[in-house]
């Protein structure tokens, strides 16, 4: 991703949030941090601008992407 960071090892996390219980979780952005706890602090600091009832982070490298319709394996 071309990040220039002070931390030697960082992970990128996607940030998801919902404004109300009845709403689905939406991806609101991402943060980069060396560990889960700092990523939590960064996500809350960065995406707290709007009211939210639930926020969660997922390491990007933990997301498993499926092949799209018609997409070849290569």
């Amino acid at each position: 991703m071309g990040y220039s960071r002070v931390h030697a090892n960082v992970r990128e996390y996607d940030v998801f949030a919902r404004k109300a219980r009845v709403e689905p979780l939406r991806q609101v952005g991402s943060v980069v941090a060396p560990d889960d706890h700092l990523a939590m602090a960064y996500a809350r600091a960065t995406y707290d601008e709007e009211r939210w009832v639930e926020m969660m982070i997922v390491p990007k490298d933990a997301v498993i992407r499926l092949w799209g319709p018609g997409e070849s394996e290569s």
């Binding site: 960071r5 002070v6 941090a33 706890h37 700092l38 939590m40 960064y42 809350r44 600091a45």
Partner: protein, 213 residues
């Protein structure tokens, strides 16, 4: 205020934003605390020279590790005292201060992670010593408030819990309580630098206000 000074100087963009956000949180906490004190009948003091801040906050920090020391240790000490009030028997404080603890959880995560990342041992040790001074001596006012039920924790509890939160091996700190100022909760004289004091008192903003008449 010291957090806010790092909102464009921290080591990463995320840390910049976190510094700004935590600074805003703490300004909000100050407002709630002052409001609660007023409601409890504590008179407003004359501002100049009466700030009871720890010496750590007297001057702007020149190194990120100083930010980390304050964030990991002093902010945690503050949170513990708030927790002691929330679990105490003063109803105004029990109800008003609870939200602070929810926000402070993120300050703690930030400080603890950065303590692992940055080589901040000297700053952490200094902050630790000043946090102990801020808690005060055993059998002092804090322990008195614990006996009255206003605080849920006494000095020994606070020290132990802070040690657990910081996690690192911290040095035995000998404090000369004969030099300790019980009002300002510190042993050394001095105070906040003039420029910051003017910002805190709103004088800096007044310079930009249109003159009346």
């Amino acid at each position: 205020m010291r957090y806010a000074e790092w909102c464009i100087a921290a080591p990463s963009l995320e840390a910049d934003i976190a510094a700004a956000a935590m600074g805003l949180d703490d300004i909000g906490h100050s407002r709630v605390l002052y409001g609660s004190l007023r409601e409890l009948g504590t008179p407003d003091g004359p501002d100049e020279g009466s700030y009871a801040n720890v010496p750590y906050l007297d001057r702007p920090w020149t190194d990120w590790t100083q930010f980390v020391g304050a964030n990991a240790v002093l902010d945690s000490a503050f949170s513990l005292m708030i927790e002691a009030l929330v679990n105490g028997n003063v109803e105004v404080l029990r109800s008003r201060l609870r939200k602070m603890l929810q926000e402070e959880r993120y300050h703690y995560l930030h400080g603890r992670s950065w303590m692992r990342e940055a080589n901040a041992a000297p700053a952490v040790e200094r902050a630790w010593g000043e946090a102990l001074e801020w808690f005060g001596p055993e059998s002092g006012d804090v322990d008195g408030f614990k006996r009255e039920g206003k605080l849920a924790y006494g000095v020994r509890d606070l020290r132990r819990m802070l040690q657990e939160r910081v996690g690192d091996k911290l040095p035995e700190t000998a404090i000369d309580w004969t030099k300790w100022d019980g009002t300002r909760r510190r042993s050394v004289p001095g105070g906040i630098d003039q420029a910051t004091l003017e910002m805190l008192q709103g004088l800096a903003e007044k310079r930009y206000m249109p003159t009346s008449g």
